[in-house]
Each structure stands twice: as structure tokens, then as C-alpha cells.
Symmetry: C2
Subunit: 137 residues, 2 copies
């Protein structure tokens, strides 16, 4: 059984066939699927699952903190089940491949007080862009 599913179950989440399928589709490392990709894979296992349910379920997983929303491109949001280890993303500008990466310093520490304009900063999102080995010329 998937880690994600296990975590959700122990939190008292009401279990349904639909939620189980979404959690299973989303489980793993370096998984960054869009909602429609999740839906397409979920349909393979449970043909009648609706788009609305996939959206609802993903939204709930995000609220519970078990899945992170990622916006690496300007199109659809992606869903990353690796929510419990802080990390950033490296994206191939050509093929769109995404890797989880871990910078050596907390990016927050590089923003001086004079550049904070009185904001209380709680979060940083870093996206590195480049060309992956497969797409390199």
C-alpha cells in the first residue's frame, strides 16, 4: 500500500474507491503530475471517476499538507506527494522534466532585512531552469 494512502488513512480520512485510486496514482518520488494526468491514470483503474472528484481530492490532500502544489510552468498546477521533505525544483526548459533538488542553504537566509519591506516572510519557492542531459545538443 502506498505511503501517501497510509498517511491519509491514519489521519481519519474517509476512504472511498476514488480517493484510494488518486492516492495510489500520486504515490512515489519525483512525481509531478497535473490534475488531468492524475485523472487520466485514475480512469484506467476506475473508469467512472469524474474530473471534479480528482480536483476535490487533490485539493484536500493539499489542505492536509500531504501533497504540495507546484507551478513549474505557467500552465497547469502539478501535484507533488513528497510533502514532508522541503525541496525545490529543477525543470528542463525543453521537455519539461522535473527533478526535486535540495539547495545547500535555505534560500530565505539570502534576503536581507532591507529587502523585506516589512513583510513577514513564511515561504520561498525556487525554480531552477535549464536543459536536461537528454535534451542537450
Amino acid at each position: 500500500m502506498s505511503d501517501l494512502l497510509e498517511r491519509l488513512r491514519t489521519r481519519g480520512w474517509r476512504m472511498t474507491a476514488q480517493r484510494r485510486v488518486v492516492a495510489e496514482v500520486l504515490d512515489g518520488d519525483h512525481v509531478h503530475l497535473t490534475a488531468d494526468e492524475v485523472h487520466a491514470r485514475a480512469v484506467d483503474r476506475l473508469p467512472e471517476i469524474s474530473r471534479a472528484t480528482v480536483y476535490n481530492t487533490l485539493g484536500e490532500m493539499v489542505s492536509l499538507g500531504e501533497v504540495v502544489e507546484v507551478s513549474t510552468d505557467r500552465r497547469a498546477k502539478r501535484y507533488d506527494p513528497n510533502a514532508h521533505r522541503p525541496h525545490q525544483h529543477l525543470v528542463c526548459a525543453k521537455c519539461g522534466a522535473i527533478r526535486d533538488v535540495h539547495p545547500s542553504r535555505n534560500p530565505l537566509s539570502d534576503l536581507p532585512d532591507t529587502e523585506r519591506f516589512g513583510f513577514t516572510i513564511s515561504d520561498v519557492e525556487v525554480t531552477y531552469r535549464g536543459i536536461c542531459p537528454n535534451c542537450a545538443p
Copy 2:
């Protein structure tokens, strides 16, 4: 005349009333408008300008490197005419206010080789999120 317009003109861009208006609307510091906001302001000066033209024109400015696309939220892209000084963005999670900020180190230097997976990295995008002084409780 606006800086942006001046730069575009000297690059041999064919000048039309529509392009002039878009460039004028977009000029300035800490400007981060969506395409629809640009369109709304452009219509004030040139009532017949179409949405398609605004999208096309913004897209061309981005291709020319005179304007940068910013995705601070997961909704519409925003357009930042401050393309010639590298900077990152600080966003209020409540009201959406956006400030240009300048970290003390190049964020690229914090990604060790072992975390690059053979990618040739060319760009980093950092978004700091928090609560601005106006929205603070």
C-alpha cells in the same frame, strides 16, 4: 516617452498605435500587470484595441527580452518591464501585492553540482511569500 518604448524603437520594432499604448501602460518600476489589466488600461487610451493584440504584443516584448513574464500566483501571468536588472519577487499571500527584491547572493550558487543531475542551468526564479505590512494583523 517611456524607456521601454525607446528601447523597442531602437531595436527596429515596427511602431503602431497599439504597440505604443501597450508599451506606455507597461512602463515603470514595480509594475506587474496581468494581460487583462494591460488590456483594460490600453482601452482607456485606444478604445478599439483587441485582447488578441495585447497578448501578441506582450508575447513579442517577452521574446525580445524587454519584458519578463512572472508567475507569482497560479492565476494569470504578469508582465514586468524591469527586465534589465536581475531580481526576484516578494508576494503578499493575502492581498497579492508584489515587490521586486534583490537577494544578497545569486541563488544559482546554492545548488551543488551533485544536485544538478547533468542539467545545464541557465536561470533561477525565486518567489518569497509572506504577509505585507498592510495586511499584518
